[in-house]
Symmetry: D2
Subunit: 146 residues, 4 copies
């Protein structure tokens, strides 16, 4: 299925992000950089809420090693953007997510304005060596996988 055919219903986790005035650039639309701020927020807010722990205090941390985004339609201000989040691949120490951004609230319908990918590798906070995701994260990912 092409990314352009993704819909809100294809994602187990949806989150609403109101846009901010400063998100808009000289062309009057949400700047391409902001999409990654929403991806980052979607992943980390879900991780913290679903795992029940503040992931920033765990001995292993998720380092972002790869991100990408394709842009299909412009987003504006004021407005609400809904992110969709799902698991793409769970490796030994890495976790790849697929994300989409939809214009409008979670209850709307329609094609995505953007679609992307976000890859964490878990590393020991001190040695920065790859390690498996910490237990509370693994448990949350197992629920996302189903």
């Amino acid at each position: 299925m092409s990314e352009k055919d993704w819909r809100r219903g294809d994602f187990p986790v949806l989150r609403e992000h109101p846009t901010r005035w400063a998100d808009v650039d000289a062309y009057g639309h949400v700047n391409n950089v902001v999409h990654y701020a929403l991806f980052d927020t979607a992943v980390n807010a879900w991780l913290i809420e679903e795992s029940g722990v503040d992931v920033r205090t765990l001995p292993a941390m998720g380092l972002v090693v790869e991100t990408s985004c394709r842009y299909f339609a412009e987003l504006g201000f004021p407005g609400v953007v809904t992110s969709g989040l799902r698991l793409a691949r769970l490796g030994t120490s890495s976790v790849a997510y697929e994300l989409a951004l939809f214009d409008g609230p979670a209850g709307d319908d329609g094609p995505p304005a953007a679609a992307g990918r976000f890859v964490h590798v878990y590393v020991d906070r001190d040695t920065r060596r790859p390690v498996p995701p910490p237990d509370p994260v693994r448990a949350a990912l197992a629920r996302l996988e189903r």
Copy 2:
């Protein structure tokens, strides 16, 4: 009344702003700069929604000439911040707003995490000379004043 005594109920306009992962700085709290991004969003989203026109297309634009913020408590991620907006003073070409940021959704209660001031001067887009606020803005401000 001290700014620390301001409550959500003292503001005619409330708006919820979820925090973003990138809002947090090296100290783990929402960076002092982000408060101004929320002020800016509160003022401009209200102006656009209440006036019914995209203020960016009007012949006069609101130039920000003065802002300030006092910080009383830390804000975090994930979380929702509620901004309160009210009119402080309406001049010939200037509009001063008072704003507060409250930790938690609009329905919560409690003291502000921050309080500030935001002053627009309306100028002609071409000459940059001060002019009265455009009619749709004046009408919106009149409703805010009551």
Copy 3:
């Protein structure tokens, strides 16, 4: 050649970007989103300076349709990051750039901290239909290609 083998000398355009306090996230390193703000800056500053025109005033605008980044090493604050920019592919209406970010000033040496891709499609500002890049942009790209 692997992206990790890219060096400053492989890029015809280098630009220094001091990091900002707010670039750093809760993990104490430059947030993954900021890399895209530097890519965006590298491309647009070069376009404006090399073409000699403010690209924002042209009848055709570059819409960002695809971006990606791979992260190899952490960046910090305070510090200077050097971006390298080169042309990857020039299509009828699209321009793909390759970018790298290096820790330290332009005169330093060493492997990249990140590498990415940034694709513009030129569209008519009014109709949003694809068009060839405007003449001053084409001339700048021709010089970059050599």
Copy 4:
């Protein structure tokens, strides 16, 4: 002396900040929020460089309790902004700085585009109770005061 009469030469610490594409808002000028990102950067980069320690690792941290800015002229992209930093007042646990932003590099001359104030209160990282600035910070401030 009015803030509009401040010049680069009135500040013991100057720092150059290139603007970024994402700094510019829908009106085509640097958004009012960005000025605070530059203030923050000017203060913290100077503190880290002048004290010789990473202030983020000290047992006491500087909490921002008050900031303000007055805007006199628009800033643009691409461009370089020079910040000027000086000590306004050193209290038992608080440090107030005065800052100005000048359009163009440090070697240029001319009136400020903006002027502001930035106040840190040092607190114990665990108890968040006010404490005197840590020794390396005090030593740096003593040199700034002269």
